[in-house]
């Protein structure tokens, strides 16, 4: 059974495809939860089977829920919430990521902060040391708010973690979150005046992903720039210039968990436009660590299609051949079961898609 968790402006949709079912991609809506509420992010912890969702109610704010069955009762977690002494409040839940230790999960929120759960997502506590870094005073919110948007555990090592903040750079820990250091060497924030780039702390990192088979390898979609790190996020190499991309601006980024040389981006035209360039919907793939990119377009709209794909709305399933899926702000879902060689529209009239994960 293949399963997709689609967070939208009007609830969570769980799409399922029975094995061997053919037809139009084979996926159908099996569950809708949280009707009318914004599901910013939903995922499933494959270790426990538990589903987790960050949900923002229009009047009553953001809350995290968990369930063993998405069609059943969802329980409200205790947190993530800031300690009262900090005079801060969670505005939005951006990402939930299973950790390495048993029951460990991480959660990134706006304003940019990291929370940890040790009990499978039932209770959450602030990672105080990252909140306390002095540089936080110099972070700046991006258009989507000041968010901690990506969390990359290190397979097999519970102490090592990389997170990214828009706009606050990449932060690394080797001691389970007790201390943090920046990993921004090589990033060029072109959106700042030349003379302001060197000393800035406002690196607008849109998305990072770690290659689990080679954990020192990370890929990044920056606010104008695509990068790779070969040293676990300490420094970054430009792989977006003169390498075949129509634009190096964008948000979505996916990797092949079985191949550290392979990554995918969906470029958008620019930070002033944020739609698929030239009305063509194309996923770009590299198989050589960003040395070159090629367009994957068969089955995707190639004219008069000005779509917006948000940072959490692109995912891969880790299978072989690789399944790739993304959703757009006009409510369409596209999927590929052959690593991006061909695509199908698997849903076309959903609410605006905010996030998408393979369960």
């Amino acid at each position: 059974m293949s399963e997709l968790l689609v967070g939208t402006r009007k609830g969570l949709f769980v799409l399922r495809k029975p094995p061997g079912r053919g037809g139009k991609g084979g996926f159908g809506i099996a569950v809708r939860a949280f009707p009318g509420e914004v599901v910013e992010f939903a995922t499933r912890d494959k270790r426990s089977g538990r589903y987790l969702a960050g949900v923002t109610h229009g009047q009553f704010g953001p809350h995290l829920f968990y369930a063993e069955d998405p069609a059943g009762a969802w329980q409200q977690a205790e947190g993530p919430a800031f300690p009262a002494s900090l005079n801060a409040a969670v505005e939005r839940i951006w990402v939930i990521e299973p950790g390495v230790a048993d029951g460990e999960l991480w959660c990134g929120v706006a304003p940019a902060a990291l929370f940890r759960s040790g009990d499978g997502g039932k209770t959450w506590a602030l990672v105080q040391a990252l909140w306390d870094v002095p540089e936080r005073a110099q972070w700046n919110p991006g258009a989507g708010g000041m968010c901690l948007n990506s969390i990359c555990p290190w397979p097999g090592d519970r102490n090592r973690l990389a997170v990214s903040i828009s706009a606050g750079g990449v932060w690394l820990t080797d001691d389970g979150g007790k201390s943090w250091r920046r990993g921004v060497k090589g990033l060029v924030p072109r959106y700042l005046p030349q003379e302001a780039r060197h000393d800035t702390h406002a690196h607008c990192v849109h998305h990072i992903e770690r290659a689990p088979q080679q954990p020192a390898t990370l890929y990044m979609q920056f606010h104008g720039g695509v990068y790779r790190s070969d040293d676990a996020g300490e420094s970054w190499i430009d792989i977006g210039t003169d390498s075949g991309l129509p634009s190096d601006f964008g948000f979505p980024l996916a990797i092949d968990v079985n191949d550290p040389n392979r990554a995918f981006v969906i470029p958008l035209s620019s930070d002033m436009d944020r739609v698929t360039p030239g009305g063509k919907v194309r996923v770009y793939e590299t198989r050589d660590r960003g040395g070159s990119w090629r367009a994957l377009e068969e089955g995707l709209p190639q004219s008069q299609a000005y779509l917006t794909v948000l940072r959490q709305a692109f995912c891969s399933d880790g299978a072989s051949p690789l399944g790739l899926y993304f959703g757009v702000q006009t409510g369409e879902l596209f999927g590929s079961a052959d690593g991006g060689l061909s695509w199908r529209t698997i849903a076309s009239r959903l609410p605006p898609v905010v996030s998408m994960r393979c369960a």
């Binding site: 009262a84 409040a89 969670v90």
Partner: protein, 86 residues
Amino acid sequence: MPRVILTGSIRQHVGGLGAIDVGGDTAAAVVRALETAYPPLRGWVVDERGTLRRHVKLFLHGSAVGLDAALGHDDELHIVAAISGG
């Protein structure tokens, strides 16, 4: 004891009740007491700073009030979801 009247969409967090008698001499105290009695309500009316959520309104005797509003023994405090947008 003041009575709190809850809007429909958050009654699920207080056992489905629409009206609850709860002790407190201000709106803030009443909300805190309500959260203590019904932990699932935490974070829905006020955030973790104790600030009223932007699109939640309190009404007392037909007027919008803040969390600092004083409540008498027989007062009814209405917690409603604000009409936001168009």
